[in-house]
């Protein structure tokens, strides 16, 4: 059988192994050969540990002794008997609720500015992107200084306009907002994605809008935003996943304090696992987070059909 016939009759390939031509067999073999490294990596380093952790989540396991099966006990006590779990969940949700929309809006606004044909715009793009390549630990230490109530740049700047800044990281009310603010420092990463999206918006659409009499704001509303909706959607999904896993800042800067006000979910999980050595309990926490994120992402996907426009999408 020749290759041409293969191409024009896909039904042949579907009709079971017997019907596979030599070419198809060879292609299948090559295919699996090519993805083998990834397959090994994925099953060994991702899928395997996940399954193992699910097993542990149903056990009591302190590393020193072999795990003992406890069924759903870990899950039950997480939900009924663990105020820190609820604190961590609340803190994380709070952080996500503010930092993701602010981050997306900030990235988009910055991208709009950096998309202007201004002299030196490349330099600005580089400057704004730089924080995103800085190691999180390094920037955390930097921000400890910036948030220092007496000598920090933030409160100094506020005092110039006559505002007495709060204690920031030392104040349970202000500690989360401080970390959210700090998160905005990294909007440059999202900006790069939005910039790429902006380049893809056809210029003719803006001209059509101008002829239609749309103001700059209306152009943004009716052309830019819809055309960027896939990017906005992507940023939200990735942002939520990322911010639910916020860890480094609170680990380095506040150790979850003051008064557990920055005890984020993953930080709590880390403590349970590596400070209290309750691996079974920690695994259960991890699986709960996993389910939360999968649910959120699924929900977003579903909602996205209402507002995300994809190029070449024929849906009504």
């Amino acid at each position: 059988m020749t290759r041409e016939i293969d191409c024009t009759s896909p039904g042949k390939a579907d009709s079971g192994r017997r019907g596979l031509s030599r070419n198809a067999v060879r292609e299948a073999r090559d295919f699996y050969l090519c993805i083998l490294p990834w397959l090994v990596g994925f099953s060994g380093l991702t899928l395997g540990p996940m399954l193992v952790s699910f097993y542990y989540s149903l056990c009591e396991y302190n590393i020193l002794q072999p795990p003992t099966w406890v069924g759903l006990a870990n899950y039950v006590s997480i939900f009924t008997d663990d105020p820190l779990f609820w604190t961590a969940l609340y803190n994380t949700a709070y952080y996500t609720f503010f930092s993701v929309p602010l981050g997306v809006a900030g990235s988009l606004a910055l991208a709009l500015l950096l998309n202007q044909a201004v002299r030196g715009v490349r330099v600005f793009r580089t400057i704004f992107y730089m924080p995103s390549i800085m190691p999180a630990v390094a920037s955390s230490i930097l921000w400890i200084w910036l948030f220092n109530p007496q000598y920090g740049l933030v409160n100094r700047a506020l005092s110039l306009v006559g505002i007495k800044g709060p204690l920031w990281l030392a104040d349970p009310v202000w500690s989360k907002p401080a970390l959210i603010l700090m998160g905005l420092w990294g909007v440059g990463g999202g900006t790069v994605i939005f910039l790429a999206g902006l380049q893809g918006v056809p210029r003719h659409l803006y001209e059509a809008a101008v002829v239609d009499g749309a103001t700059t704001w209306q152009q943004f509303l009716h052309v830019t935003l819809p055309m960027l909706s896939p990017t906005v959607f992507f940023s939200f999904v990735m942002g939520i996943i990322g911010s639910f896993q916020v860890f480094t800042q609170s680990y380095v800067m506040t150790q979850g304090g003051p008064l557990n006000s920055t005890l984020f979910y993953v930080l709590y999980l880390y403590r349970v696992a590596f400070e209290f050595f309750q691996m079974g309990y920690a695994s259960a926490l991890a699986w709960i987070l996993f389910v939360i994120l999968v649910t959120f992402t699924g929900l977003q996907l579903r909602l996205s059909r209402r507002w995300v426009y994809y190029e070449g999408d024929l849906r009504r």
């Binding site: 056809p202 003719h204 659409l205 001209e207 059509a208 809008a209 101008v210 002829v211 239609d212 009499g213 749309a214 103001t215 209306q218 009716h222 052309v223 819809p226 055309m227 909706s229 426009y309 190029e311 070449g312 999408d313 024929l314 849906r315 009504r316």
Partner: protein, 406 residues
């Protein structure tokens, strides 16, 4: 004064002049076609009129008011873009309605007007579709609808049919014409297709290198091209052009070309511009439909050999290589041969259709039922009433307007 006037308008893109129009007046209700090859500045001109581009100098005057500083909206123009530029995420309804919404027109009036336009364009059943889910022709209609719905003072269309297939193009062409008749809105239409221009235009503006070469009715630019460029651009197949020498004998003027010898009749001589003298060399132009070809003709102007028979179905054409006569052949072609050969090949570069020195290809309509054979010897005669003479150096026509009637 016209509805729209471009006065000494010039547009530069970094030192390159894209458009330079000294004076163009467009009357209310006219259908004007800007015609020219790609890159000649048609789109730029349209964008200048729309207000999407501002002129480097000069004035754009709408209804007696200079509108240089006004936005497209304030000029109240509507534009149909070459690739339609429909908002891909909006339904057809919203695409058409947007410019009314921007104006805060009441909802029920928007609804009424959108449906009215949709009915006019036969797209009512598409109102809830997205552009992506429609054919090119349907998208084209929506683009027209978006332009019509706000009752603009000017319609601007930039090659609106160029993305459609040939058949649909013909349909939409006549629909656009009907639409114009019905609405009477002044329309400026850009195309590189001379046939489209001939069919649609009240007047054609022929552009080349950003300049206006000629403005006139389709008939006018066809019958009286002001220069070689227009002569070649308008009409299909292209006008035949041949380098000729002018000789006087017994008070008559004769044109001697490759395999071609013809006496200019008195009425052509009276139409020679200026003092009535022809230069020593001219470019003779004649359209294929005005060349009679046959095996033996009375009063033939020359002879040649058929090199190609072009069958189009409706009309057929032959390509005749003049000055190429078979061995042992005598007759008028042979007689003129000696006189012309030495002049061939050095004609000034006015875009003369000489394939190679010594011969010229003449395209002529073939009216006989039988097919012409390649290699066949034929004679030809040019219709005196429809010959054109151009200056070989400047390419400008040497004749004043001919008789209008055909």
């Amino acid at each position: 004064m016209g509805d729209l006037v471009l006065s000494r308008v010039m547009k530069k893109f970094n030192d390159n002049v894209a458009v330079e129009i000294d004076d163009l007046e467009i009357r209310k209700g006219e259908f004007i076609v800007l015609l020219g090859p790609s890159g000649c500045g048609k789109t730029t001109t349209l964008r200048l009129i729309a207000g999407l581009e501002s002129p480097t100098r000069g004035e754009i005057i709408l209804d007696g008011k200079v509108v240089n500083a006004l936005s497209p909206k304030e000029r109240n123009v509507a534009m149909v873009f070459q690739d339609y530029a429909l908002y891909p995420h909006m339904r057809v309804y919203d695409n058409i309605a947007l410019n009314l919404r921007v104006d805060r027109v009441p909802k029920d009036e928007i609804d009424r007007r959108v449906h009215e336009v949709a009915r006019l364009l036969n797209i009512e059943h598409l109102l809830s579709r997205r552009p992506r889910a429609m054919s090119g022709g349907q998208q084209q209609r929506v683009a027209l609808g978006r332009a019509i719905v706000r009752n603009p003072r000017l319609f601007l269309m930039d090659e609106p049919l160029s993305n459609l297939d040939a058949k649909l193009r013909l349909t939409m062409r006549s629909e656009i014409k009907k639409l114009h008749t019905r609405l009477g809105t002044t329309t400026i239409y850009v195309t590189h297709d001379q046939e489209e221009a001939m069919v649609l235009a009240d007047r054609i503006v022929i552009l080349a290198d950003g300049r206006v070469l000629q403005i006139g009715s389709p008939e006018d630019v066809y019958e009286n091209p002001r220069n070689v460029f227009v002569a070649r651009f308008i009409g299909s197949p292209e006008m035949n052009l041949a380098d000729c020498r002018v000789e006087s004998a017994d008070g008559d003027a004769w044109l001697l070309g490759e395999g071609l010898r013809l006496k200019l009749p008195a009425d052509v001589m009276t139409r020679v511009a200026g003092r009535g003298d022809l230069p020593a060399r001219v470019v003779l132009g004649v359209r294929p439909r005005n060349v009679k070809v046959g095996r033996e003709l009375e009063d033939a102007d020359g002879a040649g050999e058929v090199t190609f028979f072009e069958r189009l179905g409706e009309v057929n054409y032959v390509h005749v290589e003049t000055g190429k006569t078979g061995a042992g052949m005598d007759g008028p072609g042979g007689a003129s041969d000696g006189g012309v050969r030495d002049t061939a090949g050095d004609g000034a570069g006015a875009g003369v259709g000489a394939d190679r020195p010594g011969t010229t290809v003449l395209v002529a309509r073939w009216d006989e039922d039988r097919e012409a054979r390649a290699g066949e010897q034929v004679e030809f005669r040019l219709d005196r009433a429809h010959i054109h003479l151009f200056d070989p150096a400047s390419g400008m026509s040497l004749l004043t307007c001919g008789p209008r009637s055909r």
